[in-house]
Amino acid sequence: MEKGQNNPGNIEYVIGSEKTLKEIISEAEVIPLLKSAVRAGASKAMVINPDGKIIWTYSNHIKDRTVSETLTLPLYLEGEIVGNVVIKGDSKERDYLKGLSGMLLDALNIIINNNLKRMLTTEIHTTVVNRSYEELVETNTRLKISEARYRELAQNLEKKVQERTEELKHVYARLLQQEKMASVGQLAAGVAHEINNPMGFITSNINTFGKYISKLKEMIEFYRTINHDSSKAEKLYERLKIDFIMNDIPHLIRQSIDGAERVKKIVSDLKGFSHIDDACETMIDINREIDRTISVLAHEIPEDAGIIRDYHELPEFICNPALICQVFLNIILNAIQTKREGLKLTISTVFEDGNIRIRFSDNGPGITEDLRKRVFEPFFTTKDVGKGTGLGLTVAYEIITAYGGTIDVESLPGEGATFVIRLPLKRTQKMIHDTGYRIKNNQNNKPFIVHYGDI
């Protein structure tokens, strides 16, 4: 068996292996036959080996019996002489003994053949049964393995489905928020456009109005000089407090123009914030974007709130500004909502080790440890029903991770919360940085405090 040995699970067996006479036929089967031969008249009956050695023998115990004849007949097994049947007796009974030995041989042959048949049948049967059993055991083992694999697969599938569901939930949340922001942006841009037109002629008219008023003032002065003795006119002049009006008008106009300018700025900030014009990735200055976000949030920021900007020069960062602004907006809004009175929000930016780091520290109630783990989960909110979507920080998390950055929250309950954003500069950006980057804002690098009321 050359190849068979390399065949795993293949048991070795051979049908019809060589057997000796003694293995096929037993003493218990032979002796009665020999006994019968002796009883029938032989003095001795034997089965001997081809080399003459006695295997089985039976002889008459009556001593006086003549032994003058020996008959030997070959005993075949599968064509091979495996022994001899020997009958001894009286030569006078030769023919009778011949018949007797023939009968004995035939009887032995029949037993041998039947035994051999039975043995072969048993052998093949056992072999096949064993083999079938082995195969069944093998199949069973394989089935068990495959069952285990499928079970594991099923379990993993559940986990996988959960993971995918979680992922989808996140993406969905982000999409939802983006869509919301996009429509808000569109609306803002539309409104801004609509406001810009009337604001244009309002500003222009106020300016013209100012010029007209000064002309009218000049005219009134002229009338007063040529008619200064008209006590009636002077009385009216006094009563109408025209002097005061004349002095106040430039202030009013100045204020109106300032107001109009402010409206213009708000509109432009709104437009800039929504980034309705540049939807794709551009180079931005993070400091400027934070400022922009604060401007847009102006109406939300309480009068007494203090926003401390501790900005350091930053390299330009390539990203979708609308997304980044959304991150800032969500975090700042969160801070505002946690503390309506006496809010102090410190925003610091710094560039170190190839990363832009932005910290938003508030003096709100802080976040407990178990909540800290969940703040970035979608639909998780501590706000009252209807107030928060539970998506703000999730979206912030999604956006920052999309840029390869991290966002973490540090907090001690009662001592406020700090959101730390780390944005890694991409390789191309690093190159820009290394070859000298442009700083657009806040070149003196000093922190400055702005109370919203001052703006």
Partner: protein
């Protein structure tokens, strides 16, 4: 593979008659038993059959002694042809030294022949034998019937394989000894190469084949 006991100076060869169900494997052995001389062979041992179909196997043993005194036993087996007895076929096929594939010549049996031959290839591989190396002859049996595949077709299909093909009618007793002789011939070559039957034991091929196929004297 051959069983060889150097100490006992004994060798046992195993030849297997393979083929689809009812193609005449047992009939082949019966004919060999009838046609060949009683001297030097044992009785045909037909293990249990059911409705004339082999369940286990049949065994026809031969015995000869080489001039060197080497005792050679040649055991010719049949396998059960029915598909369900595949485990038995595999068991019988173990350590075979030569195979005679008995095909059924009837047109209706083409598929069965093909499937059985495929089964032979598969089982030989399972028991670790190579169909390209093992002595193999093919017999197209039942040539006495009508509706059989023409001999020219058979030669056309099997000729290129180089496997010896024999036409036979086991029922009528012709082609049977030829098939057996050729199988013995091929098997001798294989074993001679390994054990030097001619050189070491003085047994040439002609004597070997002749001894095995020694016909019974016409009565």
């Amino acid at each position: 593979m051959i069983e060889y006991d150097e100490l006992e100076q004994k060798m046992v060869m195993k030849l297997v008659y393979y083929g689809p169900a009812l193609s005449g494997k047992t009939t082949n052995l019966l004919r060999l038993h009838d046609l060949l001389a009683h001297e030097g062979r044992g009785d045909l041992m037909v293990l249990d059959t059911k409705d004339d179909r082999t369940i286990f196997f049949d065994l026809l043993p031969f015995f000869l002694t080489a001039p060197s005194g080497l005792k050679i036993k040649v055991k010719v087996y049949t396998v059960p042809g029915q598909v369900r007895h595949d485990a038995t076929r595999k068991a019988v096929l173990q350590r075979a030294d030569g195979v005679a594939f008995i095909a059924d010549s009837r047109l209706s049996e083409k598929t069965n022949n093909f499937e059985s031959f495929e089964n032979l290839e598969k089982n030989l591989a399972i028991v670790g034998l190579e169909i390209e190396k093992i002595p193999l002859v093919i017999q197209f049996n039942k040539r006495d019937l009508k509706d059989i595949v023409p001999e020219s077709d058979i030669k056309h299909i099997w000729g290129p394989t180089g496997i010896p093909i024999f036409m036979a009618s086991a029922l009528e007793g012709w082609g049977v000894i030829e098939t057996f002789s050729r199988l013995a011939d091929l098997t001798y070559d294989r074993i001679d190469k390994r054990y030097g039957l001619g050189e070491n034991h003085g047994l040439d091929k002609e004597t070997f084949v002749k001894t095995l196929t020694h016909k019974a004297q016409e009565v």
